[in-house]
């Protein structure tokens, strides 16, 4: 097998209570992420996106299957994987700077105080929070809090950045601004990112590839859609790309009409055990050329 940066193999999560039939949230989910890739996962709530995220981070363990990152199996939380939580999860008794410093100190315990401070300040500046570093989270707006959270994750320079609906709680305007910043930072750092989102436009703007999950229980990854609108993308320009609406319509159509279909569940399970592998090997042979069509591959689900 070609060594992808991150390999998720046959991941299954089943919750079994005492007098209940076990609930299989997702079943044999497999996908890969390459270094430097930005992958989004979209699906209705309850399909297990967050559980997949927690498994990747190591906070939760799967019922069966495994995750291999950079040749090593993920068996617990690690500083190699930075996480931005949906509700920011800043420590409210620490200032913005101290929250970032918290991560940096944990990452490089041997650094000097001045070095830790400088590094933390650099990353706060990167997210546009210069001057607000001494404020407590309660004194920051929602958007600023999420920026601190992003700075904390980026500052530890993780190999993989996990974003759990990072903009879900923000208003549309703030969300746009921070998305633009995220695009900029990712271009600058070539960060590998895995992100959960509900927002189709956000997914198209940010990702190289979008994974579509069918509805739970027994959710599977139904399709992997490559977004080959050339990067860097601008919010204003992206909608003028001829492939944009084709792609958007395809995603929305999936979420509205096809995600619930049992089609993905019974009929095709054996074939779907590793749907992306074939996809990726094809991508390898024909590298991302600036094509006009945005939807390069939609996984044939019945073949």
């Amino acid at each position: 097998m070609t060594a992808h940066f991150l390999q998720v193999q046959d991941l299954t999560k089943r919750f079994s209570g005492k007098n209940q039939t076990p609930l299989t949230v997702f079943d044999k989910v497999s996908f890969n992420i390459d270094k430097g890739e930005f992958v989004c996962i979209i699906g209705h709530s309850g399909c297990g996106k967050s559980t997949i995220m927690n498994t990747l981070s190591g906070l939760d363990s799967p019922t069966s299957g495994g995750v291999i990152m950079d040749g090593k199996e993920v068996s617990g939380p690690s500083l190699d994987r930075g996480i931005v939580f949906q509700n920011y999860s800043l420590l409210p008794w620490l200032s913005a700077l101290d929250n970032v410093r918290f991560g940096v100190k944990a990452r490089w315990p041997s650094w000097s105080k001045a070095q830790i401070k400088q590094h933390s300040l650099d990353y706060l500046e990167l997210v546009g929070l210069k001057g607000a570093e001494n404020r407590k989270p309660a004194q920051l707006s929602g958007g600023m809090r999420q920026r601190v959270s992003i700075a904390r994750a980026f500052a530890t320079q993780p190999k993989l950045l996990l974003l759990d609906e990072p903009f879900g709680a923000l208003d549309a305007l703030t969300r746009g601004v921070i998305q633009d910043e995220l695009v900029k930072i990712c271009v600058k750092t070539h960060q590998t990112v895995f992100m959960i989102t509900h927002d189709v436009d956000e997914a198209i703007l940010l990702s190289d590839r979008i994974l579509l999950m069918s509805n739970g229980p027994n959710a599977v990854i139904a399709e992997s859609v490559t977004v080959d609108i050339p990067k860097p993308r601008q919010r204003g320009d992206i909608i003028k790309n001829p492939g944009y609406y084709t792609l958007r319509n395809h995603l929305v159509d999936f979420l509205v009409n096809r995600s619930a279909s049992s089609h993905y569940k019974e009929q095709t399970r054996p074939l779907m055990s590793n749907p992306i592998k074939s996809q990726l090997s094809k991508e390898k042979s024909e590298p991302l050329a600036p094509r006009s069509c945005a939807v390069s591959e939609i996984l044939p689900t019945g073949t």
Partner: protein, 265 residues
């Protein structure tokens, strides 16, 4: 126009004057008593009714005691300052000992569901026991009244701190624990840098409840063990039938409470 706080102060003063005036007016000795012989006075006089001393007598007594709080004329006659100091030192040593033990154990119970379930029955059985009920047992085992008083303070102030710490630690937000986990912090670092600050408000609440209880219990404990302290002082004056001193003490107790800890009421 007066501000609300000025008005409140004025109303308070009026209440005070009314109550003190009523008290003063109703606790004067009967006129006839003044003409009695010394013998009759010693026998209680014509009026057999015992009266609460008037506020003026208490003010005189207070002035007398407070102008020389640190005199020491033998074991039965020490200044109010010395008595207070004894009580405060007992409360503080028992209380600090309790904090020293309750907070770490509370952490363990809060962080480990196993320990919580294992220790909870004992806590629930021991906690409702009246602190003073421990006194005979303490006196028997420790064989020292001074240490027994400290033990009673210890045992009464340990429970609120233990339970509040365990509760505070157990209810630290899952997200913050996850932040610590994803940053690969050791359990000790997690406890110190994440759980302690997050649980601090609850722990402090427990400490405040404890110091309040400790100050209530010390007076009763000292009435029992005797020797020194404000509890002993007030009981001693009661035995001397010196109600003026008893009432003086009751006001003084408030000031001791302020010395010992934050305003609990």
């Amino acid at each position: 126009m007066l501000s609300v706080s000025q008005k409140a102060a004025l109303v308070s003063m009026i209440f005070l004057l009314v109550v003190i005036g009523f008290w003063e007016a109703n606790s004067q000795p009967p006129k006839a008593q003044e003409a009695l012989s010394e013998y009759e006075l010693l026998m209680g006089g014509a009026d057999q009714e015992a009266r609460i001393p008037p506020p003026s007598a208490i003010a005189v007594k207070a002035w007398e005691e407070l102008s020389d709080p640190f005199y020491d004329k033998g074991p039965n006659d020490k200044g109010i300052g010395i008595q207070l100091a004894y009580s405060i030192s007992r409360v503080l040593s028992g209380y600090l000992l309790a904090a020293f033990i309750a907070i770490p154990i509370g952490f363990v119970i809060g962080m480990s569901p196993l320990m919580y379930r294992a220790l909870n029955p004992y806590i629930q059985i021991l906690r409702p026991i009246s602190p003073l009920a421990w006194m005979p047992l303490a006196l028997f085992i420790i064989k020292d009244s001074e240490t027994s008083a400290i033990f009673v303070i210890f045992i009464c102030s340990i429970w609120p701190m233990l339970i509040n710490t365990a509760f505070g630690v157990a209810s630290v937000r899952r997200d913050w624990i996850n932040v610590a986990r994803t940053h690969e912090l050791s359990p000790l670092r997690t406890a110190l840098t994440v759980i302690l600050p997050a649980a601090a408000p609850t722990i402090l609440t427990g400490m405040r409840i404890s110091i309040g209880i400790a100050w209530l219990v010390i007076v009763a404990a000292e009435m029992l063990v005797g020797g020194t302290g404000i509890g002993y002082y007030v009981w001693n004056e009661w035995n001397n039938l010196d109600l003026t001193s008893v009432i003086f003490f009751d006001f003084n107790d408030r000031s001791g409470r302020h010395v010992v800890g934050p305003r609990t009421q």
